[in-house]
């Protein structure tokens, strides 16, 4: 699945200071029945976002018009639980391109990178600064600079660098994915497979 190239993203952000946000909350299992990758954004955080009768829950951040933007900022251990890539699809489909947290679950991180969402892991202290900045001004912008590997709070100029391995970075900047890479090494794979005992 091709995705948009990612270089520098400047945007306001949506704060979700909750720990252990699991992928069952991001997209509940009953919405995984599709056979095509579309429409998942409508059910992003379905049970936190809507009452059983379909009316929006006013106290949930996605229903609060003062918050918007292409960056979702979550608490520690974001994306734990199920391996469902649908969670990343729902986040992308809703319009987010970057998720910031102090800690990500592994599979969620891989899934995000594979579909063009940049997971930015920051220190707990910097995460706290981001939440504070958004709290004092919901229109606060963050600048996520992938080539420089920095995230900056525009209002204060405070900045932190983040890690990403150079292979994944190259892919995101160019809009490539792993399948392109693997297709180019098929002969090596065949040779390897011929020696496999299974």
């Amino acid at each position: 699945m091709a995705y948009d190239k990612f270089t520098v993203l400047k945007s306001s952000a949506v704060p979700m200071p909750i720990e252990n946000v699991d992928t069952d909350q991001i997209i509940p299992a009953r919405f995984l029945k599709a056979t095509e990758r579309k429409g998942f954004g409508d059910n992003l955080f379905r049970d936190w976002r809507y009452n059983a009768d379909g009316s929006p829950k006013n106290d949930f951040v996605l229903n609060n018009p003062i918050y918007s933007g292409k960056i979702l900022v979550g608490g520690k251990n974001f994306g734990s639980g199920s391996s469902r890539e649908h969670a990343a699809w729902a986040i992308y489909d809703y319009g987010f391109r970057c998720v910031v947290s102090s800690f990500f679950a592994d599979i969620f991180k891989n899934n995000s990178l594979n579909i063009g969402i940049l997971p930015v892991q920051v220190s707990p202290e910097f995460l706290h600064k981001i939440f504070t900045a958004i709290e004092s001004n919901p229109a606060s912008e963050l600048v996520v600079d992938l080539p420089a590997q920095t995230i900056t709070i525009s209002a204060t100029g405070e900045s932190e660098t983040f890690d990403i391995n150079s292979y994944k970075k190259h892919n995101l900047i160019n809009g490539y994915d792993d399948i392109d890479y693997l297709q180019a090494m098929k002969e090596d794979i065949k040779t390897f497979a011929a020696k496999s005992m299974y």
Binding site: D22, T35, S83
Partner: protein
């Protein structure tokens, strides 16, 4: 030059690395790929869009489990969306020549149950599936982990996956467990000590007497739950218990191939002096029957304890409070005596024959409590058959329970088996997340023995009082 002692994990991983990319992931060759109806359709669509094919269809095995009903499986599936996914799996596997055990097939069942019981899962393999509980297969000394749908597409098209090699952790449990302590209690105890994120970024090897003495079913339960502390997977060195379990299973090696395989499998262990990035040691005597009180699997406690206060539990107080509020529990309350509305025994964690034997051992001679709805769901048709043959069904029936048909069922409630909002379930499954067993449902994770004690008393009960 002396050789650096290797861990079991290193041996299996390094022997499968087709290429190592500098400051990038390894290209890892995959021996077995399991697929099911929920996370594969978009991957097949991706293949079609790119004009790619399946490189090694004989290395992929498909089963229908997540969406399947647990009654009347001979009738057409009522939910049109579920039926559509099942149909997609059938046509995709037929198109590419992939083995498929659909609904009604005698080999059908939960992907992580049918792999081992048919001899598809073997020591030293790399195994992936679009399901986080693929870590189950680590019980055989395989490197097994869950993947996303883009990665399913990668494996279908190239039999490889691109992965950063995880860090290594060893968890040793010494001594022997007491009466009424099951492998589920061992794993819930470990997760409660390490938290739901305590092993993120690591692959965990389990070592020590407790695991050496454990059955294969028990080892699968432990490895299954590794993902619940954030680990990429769990692994246990294969031994005579492992070989005895595999021998004679349908797809296991036979004859000379068996002897060769066993000779290789015997080399699959961590060498003396090998180092891990992190090590933990626990004492089996500290483990009592466990139950969770919160909304992640790390929020577990000994069944006779009181719910910890936020400061003791660690993490942010606000998230902790939100969790207890969802569950309708208070800090410092005991869990014993809490009312239970639903009991679920099954799932890839505890849907194997040993789990039903344990359940029946408590239920025998007793009656199901009034007001409890019990879903007893075998992990596969083969397990269902064993339940009948061993007389477990008679015990269940005499106690007022009904046996259902295999599938993931109430573990993730993608089928009709949903716990209603506000109701309490004691569940042998792996996740107590908000709404996991149906919107608004409240799940307490526990062993089959604790589930059985709840099913016959209607409240959270220490199973040691009943055995």
């Amino acid at each position: 030059m002396s050789k650096i002692p290797a861990t079991l994990f290193d041996k299996v991983w390094d022997s499968h690395a087709v290429r190592k990319i500098e400051d990038g992931p390894d290209v890892l060759f995959i021996d077995r790929h399991f697929i099911h109806e929920v996370t594969s359709p978009v991957a097949f669509l991706g293949l079609e869009n790119r004009g790619l094919s399946v490189m090694f269809p004989e290395k992929t095995f498909a089963t229908a489990d997540h969406n399947t009903p647990t009654i009347n499986q001979h009738l057409p599936v009522q939910d049109p969306l579920s039926a559509n996914q099942l149909k997609a799996l059938e046509s995709n596997t037929a198109k590419y020549g992939i083995s498929h055990w659909g609904l009604g097939n005698p080999r059908n069942g939960i992907v992580h149950v049918v792999g081992p019981e048919n001899g598809i899962t073997l020591p030293g393999m790399t195994i992936v599936c679009g399901d986080s509980h693929t870590s189950t297969h680590g019980a055989f000394g395989a490197i097994a982990f869950g993947i996303g749908t883009s990665e399913v597409e990668m494996v279908l098209s190239s039999q490889c996956i691109m992965q950063q090699k995880p860090k290594k952790m060893r968890i040793t449990v010494t001594g022997t467990t007491g009466k009424g302590i099951t492998p589920k209690d061992v794993t819930l105890y470990i997760i409660s000590q390490l938290t739901a994120a305590g092993a993120t970024g690591y692959f965990v090897e389990y070592a020590g007497e407790v695991f050496e003495q454990m059955s294969m079913e028990g080892r699968m339960t432990v490895c299954n739950m590794s993902i619940e502390m954030g680990a990429r997977g769990g692994i246990i060195a294969p031994d005579e218990t492992t070989f005895a379990y595999i021998k004679g299973r349908e797809k296991a090696p036979q004859g000379a191939a068996w002897d060769n395989a066993v000779a290789y499998w015997k080399t699959l262990k961590t060498e003396e002096g090998a180092t891990f990035d992190k090590e933990y040691t626990f004492n089996a005597a500290d483990i009592e029957p466990m139950i969770t009180y919160g909304t992640n699997p790390g929020m577990g406690m000994g069944i006779t304890q009181r719910i910890p206060v936020a400061q003791e539990a660690g993490g942010s107080a606000a998230s902790y409070e939100k969790s207890l509020q969802y569950m309708g529990f208070q800090e410092q309350e005991p869990m014993l005596g809490k009312k239970v509305d639903y009991v679920f025994i099954g799932s890839c964690t505890n849907g194997r024959i040993e789990d039903f034997r344990a359940f029946a051992s408590v239920v025998k001679g007793r009656k199901k409590a009034d007001g409890v709805t019990a879903w007893i769901v075998p992990g596969s048709h083969i397990v269902e058959q064993q339940i009948r043959e061993e007389g477990i069904l008679d015990i269940l029936t005499a106690a007022g329970f009904e046996l259902r048909q295999p599938g993931c069922s109430a573990c993730l409630a993608m089928n009709d088996d949903k716990v209603p909002a506000g109701k309490y379930a004691v569940s042998t499954s792996n996740r107590n997340f908000e709404g996991r067993q149906g919107p608004g449902s409240r799940t307490m994770l526990a062993s089959p023995l604790v589930a059985a004690a709840a099913a016959v008393t209607g409240v959270v009960t220490d199973p040691r009082e009943l055995i």
